[in-house]
């Protein structure tokens, strides 16, 4: 192409003098650095979104987590909002009082159903070893015959933390001072479990109970029970009481007669319960699963006399109470006992040499015979003598 032509045109394509002067003037004027408002606004908006998003994200994640957990336990249920918190009781001395956010001392309910949970030998051994006791200490304590409970254990634990006395002697003195029940050493195949001192002979009741269980096993398989069966216990008169699920209680006498026939005795009384034993066991499994999910240390058992699951916790939080309320909307099927507060609230007491007080209330289950080497105290209470 014609280079001269293009060169000529290029020379003519330049800004006018006035345009160049205007540019020079703009460049010469003091330049106030332009504040990048848009950029700052965008950054601020992003920051606001992030700041707002974090709690929202956490809340949503928490909600989804709990909702997924809840849905897992109730696949058919649609959880629209968090349930109310489940109530709990603080283990205190030998009894407990209801706890609904605030402690009401006058509302003490120390009925048999609010009893603290016994520790098994294995649980006690594990906790003692974990706390620094030796195996000899464990063996020594188990030989002493004291029946340690979860609440009492945690009470001792916190007292020992303060005093530094992690000794067998201190534990035995504590057990005596606290008036722990005495473990007979028997492991009867009975619901519930603690021995009572001068209880009436329970032999007939135990035999009746075992007959009943044998029949259940034969008809329903090991560990399975009829849907109407709400559990059984031995009352203070040494008689077997069989609970019948309320809404499945027949109008006629056929079932009651049938149960007496299975038990092999007519000394069988009948009570009622809301849930069947199978339902209680299922609820127990769910409770333990929830506590496991939440990472809470828990002991959980079934109180067949009261027809409920009893859960002992070292500590409790809202998440746990939400879940428990979901599992037990009526708040009657699960008794939550928080042991830590009892230990913290209870004043330290000087050990006394007084003989351990033994409950005369026969607990669910029990034992049919008293060990040969048991002795009677001044009140005629037969018990293992603590080896302290």
């Amino acid at each position: 192409m014609n280079k001269e032509l293009f060169a000529s045109m290029r020379e003519q394509m330049k800004p006018g003098e006035e345009v160049r002067a205007a540019l020079t003037e703009k460049l010469s004027a003091p330049q106030k650095r332009r504040v990048p408002v848009g950029r700052y606004a965008a950054i601020a908006a992003c920051a606001a979104v992030v700041i707002a998003a974090v709690p929202v994200y956490r809340a949503v994640q928490d909600h989804l987590k709990w909702q997924a957990l809840l849905d897992g336990f109730h696949p058919d249920a649609v959880v629209e909002e968090f349930p109310e918190l489940h109530s709990y009781v603080l283990a205190d001395e030998l009894g407990c009082w209801p706890e609904d956010g605030t402690i009401t001392e006058n509302s003490t309910d120390t009925g048999a159903g609010d009893r603290d949970q016994d520790m098994t030998d294995g649980e006690l051994a594990d906790n003692m070893l974990e706390a620094g006791f030796t195996q000899e200490d464990v063996d020594g304590y188990l030989a002493s015959g004291w029946q340690m409970t979860w609440a009492k254990w945690w009470k001792f634990y916190h007292l020992a933390e303060e005093s530094g006395e992690w000794t067998l002697e201190a534990l035995l003195a504590f057990s005596q001072a606290e008036g722990l029940a005495v473990n007979t050493g028997e492991a009867p195949e009975m619901p519930g479990g603690a021995f009572a001192g001068d209880a009436p002979d329970q032999g007939e009741a135990v035999a009746a109970y075992q007959n009943l269980l044998a029949r259940f096993e034969a008809d329903y398989g090991p560990g399975r029970y009829p849907e109407w069966y709400g559990g059984a216990y031995i009352d203070e008169h040494g008689g077997l009481v069989v609970n019948i699920v309320e809404h499945l209680e027949p109008e006629g006498k056929e079932l009651f007669l049938q149960i007496q026939d299975w038990a092999g005795t007519d000394r069988v009384a009948f009570g009622s319960s809301t849930l069947s034993l199978d339902q209680l066991r299922e609820l127990q499994d769910r409770v333990l699963a929830v506590m496991d999910e939440l990472g809470l240390s828990a002991g959980c058992g079934i109180n067949e006399e009261m027809g409920r699951v009893e859960l002992t916790l070292e500590e409790v939080n809202n998440a746990a109470l939400w879940m428990l309320a979901e599992l037990d909307p009526a708040g009657t099927a699960i008794l939550v006992i928080v042991a830590r507060s009892a230990a913290l609230d209870a004043p330290a007491e000087e050990p006394t040499a007084a003989a351990p007080s033994v409950s005369h209330t026969i607990q669910p289950g029990g034992t049919q015979k008293v060990p040969d080497d048991a002795i009677a105290d001044e009140n005629g209470v037969i018990a293992w003598e603590p080896q302290s």
């Binding site: 192409m1 014609n2 280079k3 032509l5 293009f6 000529s8 045109m9 290029r10 020379e11 003519q12 394509m13 330049k14 800004p15 006018g16 345009v19 160049r20 205007a22 540019l23 020079t24 703009k26 460049l27 010469s28 330049q31 332009r34």
Partner: protein, 166 residues
């Protein structure tokens, strides 16, 4: 490494060196003297205010070309400009060269689509290499050569073979 252009003296030298290139490209892109005036000022003001440090002169030249294309596009594409075109056309002064043949060539160049017009202008009027054009327009050198070839054919057809040194 060059320092940012803060002093007016340095900026004047920069404008002297590249004003024709920037203004001509803006004119080729907008085909409006008024818009080209605005683009010309904006480009150098942007250069001055950005404080950008260039690796070398080639880098600066490429930056000015690219910025000119971008700012010109903003002018021609703006809603405001499209709505005011009728009034602007009446007020705008047509681009006129001294020689009639120059006006004929310019008119033919303006008739080319933008894809061909800018490579033609940069190659023949500013005598940039295909690599420089590719950088300025953000396309591959091969695409530049292809557009140059097709644009040249279109110009030859429009100008009946005149002004071409075959």
């Amino acid at each position: 490494m060059n320092e940012p252009r803060r002093a007016s003296g340095e900026m004047d030298q920069l404008i002297d060196r590249y004003q024709n290139m920037v203004y001509g490209l803006a004119l080729a892109r907008t085909n409006s003297s008024a818009d080209a005036d605005d683009v010309f000022q904006e480009v150098f003001l942007a250069c001055f205010r950005s404080g950008k440090i260039f690796r070398d002169e080639e880098h600066r030249k490429a930056w000015l070309l690219r910025t000119t294309v971008n700012i010109s596009r903003r002018y021609t594409a703006s809603t405001w400009r499209r709505k005011t075109v009728p009034l602007s056309e009446q007020a705008d002064i047509p681009v006129l060269f001294r020689e009639p043949e120059e006006n004929l060539v310019w008119e033919a160049v303006q008739k080319l689509e933008e894809n061909y017009r800018l490579p033609i202008y940069l190659f023949y009027f500013q005598e940039l290499s295909t690599e420089e054009i590719a950088k300025a327009l953000g396309i591959r050198p091969g695409a530049v050569r292809m557009r140059l070839s097709r644009g040249r054919d279109m110009l030859r057809e429009m100008l009946k073979g005149d002004f071409f040194d075959e």
